[in-house]
């Protein structure tokens, strides 16, 4: 079981470079991460987007593009579509978003999944490496589904359960987060909120935690103190407002290191935030490469 992001880095270092389609790498921080990831032989990038803007960004970080493949596509949606075509046809093993609105990438993924007659609920998986916790924690969905229904939550869980075995979690502990807020009745309440967990099963193996309130899971029974090792492996977020806010708490809680991706049957699609700097983008590349390395290993087995 991979318990930290430093372990994923070791996997990535041992792997052959992963051919990666990069959509609109048009910003110097992003280009710096691409340059370093290539130099360290994590990725072999294929840059897709507006050539002049890509070259300008590369110039800012002294990245010589002579031996890097560039596919000129000026339309934003088309550039995302080209990247997903390449992933689907196995021309590349991984896709990463650059300076492009995420919705273009989501639309390209959905279109490709429909064409492949696959489940079309896409979701974002955010992994936390927390100091004091002996395992990685996956939060999902942190990026796409505004108010997921029961069937959408099940698909979100299925997506998470496809990626966790790659990290050695064959039967992860899953908790669907439910708030412990005052559930006032009748005239006392301000509005309705369904406070019951929705997901009942999955196509994949997992262990459902009976406790529904995080506090009851994280506090040790015998001394009442916080034990981060009690955290579930997967936490299903109730909605996008919550998933988005919680996933990025690493900006405040310095004990957390975060990486995110949208894992598909074709391979990982990395979705660095436009707010991320080169260090964070590099971390996502390394994590994606580790996932691809594990996919390769499993398919060879």
């Amino acid at each position: 079981m991979i318990s930290s992001l430093s372990e994923t880095e070791k996997l990535a270092e041992a792997a052959e470079p992963v051919t990666t389609a990069i959509i609109a790498p048009e910003d110097h921080e992003f280009m710096l991460a691409v340059k370093d990831a290539r130099k360290r032989r994590f990725i072999e990038p294929v840059l897709i987007g507006r050539r002049a803007v890509i070259e300008k960004a590369a110039g800012k970080v002294n990245y010589d593009l002579d031996t890097t493949r560039i596919i000129e596509v000026t339309d934003r949606q088309e550039s995302a579509n080209v990247a997903l075509d390449m992933l689907s046809s196995e021309e590349v093993e991984m896709v990463s978003k650059g300076q492009i609105t995420t919705s273009y990438v989501y639309r390209a993924i959905i279109a490709k999944m429909k064409a492949r007659q696959e489940e079309t609920v896409i979701s974002v998986q955010t992994f936390w490496d927390i100091i004091g916790c002996d395992h990685l924690v996956l939060l999902t969905d942190t990026g796409t589904n505004i108010a997921p229904s029961e069937s959408e939550k099940r698909a979100i869980l299925d997506n998470a359960l496809q990626v966790m075995p790659l990290l050695g979690y064959s039967c992860p502990k899953v908790m669907e987060l439910v708030s412990d807020s005052a559930n006032l009745k009748g005239e006392h309440k301000h509005s309705e909120l369904e406070k019951k967990p929705l997901v009942k099963d999955s196509r994949y193996a997992y262990k459902k935690l009976e406790a529904q309130v995080l506090k009851n899971v994280i506090l040790d029974d015998h001394n009442g103190l916080v034990n981060l090792n009690n955290l579930p492996h997967i936490m299903l977020m109730p909605d996008l407002n919550t998933g988005n806010m919680i996933a990025k708490l690493d900006f405040f809680i310095k004990d957390i290191v975060r990486v995110s991706c949208s894992y598909t049957s074709m391979g990982p699609v990395l979705l660095p935030s436009r707010a991320d700097v080169a260090e964070g983008i590099m971390r996502e590349f390394i994590f994606g490469v580790a996932l691809v390395a594990q996919r390769r290993r499993l398919s060879n087995d």
Partner: protein, 291 residues
């Protein structure tokens, strides 16, 4: 020992001692905290209502059940024996509904959570992790009308708030972005007075980090330094508080503010110091509303 929540402690410095009643008192940590608050001169000997008398409970009144305890505590308040009702081990929902005026939650009611940022050595606040499940714009406006004067009293300056949403652009499919934009515009037009400035919608990374805000082109002078976080709904706010408290180890307390009466809920603070800070916050709120 680090002085938690310094702004709240400062506001409590010149308060006259208040009288408190603790409903369903079974918790020794609460008793310890009340003794500290009493020794600071902020309260007189509290009235304890509960199933059994514990050492240190000088004024103890027996109640066999939570319901009876709630009724007795309410009577103490009505008979002017006690100013502030403090939740002991009663269930939260039961406590709130038992003690609100006429049993009804008024539209201005808001649970104000307070966090101590050890890096900045400052307090910041968030609404509303407990009460307003999916607040309408009208709820939000009323909550800000309740919270703003109190926070102005705490900080003794203009209050800087951010209305959070999953993205920083306005998208009708994401109601939080629309509400945030409206609140920001209302504050720009001084509809909350001159002492509240709301920035939004902001994604949480831009609210917490100046660098992130610069990268996304939504730079705000207060990024990383807001006094109040207005979260989209109770789910996001509840988990924001819970994750900060249990995973971030951020000292977390709170108080329920409403039009006529403030209730001191037991937010199960992690330490006695935090419990002392929570009682102090309740006393400051009670005293402020009486002005």
């Amino acid at each position: 020992m680090t002085k938690l929540f310094p702004e709240i402690q400062q506001r409590a410095e010149r308060l006259k001692p208040q009288r408190c009643v603790v409903s369903y008192a079974t918790d020794e940590a609460l008793l310890k905290a009340l003794t500290i608050v009493k020794n600071k001169g902020l309260i007189t000997d509290p009235i304890f209502i509960g199933p059994r008398k514990l050492p240190g409970m000088h004024d103890f009144r027996q109640a066999a059940s939570m319901q009876i305890s709630a009724l007795m505590a309410n009577e103490c308040h009505l008979n002017q024996e006690a100013d502030l009702i403090i939740q002991g081990s009663e269930k939260r929902q039961h406590f709130i509904t038992s003690h609100l005026e006429g049993g009804v939650l008024d539209k201005r009611a808001v649970y104000l959570a307070a966090f101590y940022d050890g890096n900045r050595k400052q307090t910041f606040f968030a609404i509303d992790p407990l009460i307003a499940i999916a607040p309408t714009l009208e709820n939000r406006i009323k909550q800000l009308e309740t919270v703003t004067p109190f926070l102005r009293h705490i900080f003794k300056r203009k209050v800087y708030a951010t209305a959070l949403a999953p993205i920083e652009t306005i998208n009708p499919k994401l109601p939080a972005t629309v509400t945030a934009a409206v609140l920001a515009q209302m504050s720009a037009r001084h509809q909350f007075g001159k002492f509240l400035q709301v920035t939004g919608p902001l994604d949480i990374d831009c609210a917490l980090s100046k660098v992130a805000a610069q990268r996304k082109g939504v730079e705000s002078k207060k990024s990383g330094n807001f006094d109040l976080y207005i979260l989209p709904d109770t789910n996001s706010s509840y988990f924001f508080s819970t994750f900060l408290k249990y995973i971030g180890k951020v000292p977390t307390i709170g108080v329920l503010l409403s039009k006529d009466r403030h209730l001191l809920l037991n937010s199960t603070p992690s330490t006695v110091s935090e419990r002392v800070a929570e009682i102090t916050l309740g006393l400051v709120a009670y005293n402020f509303s009486g002005k």
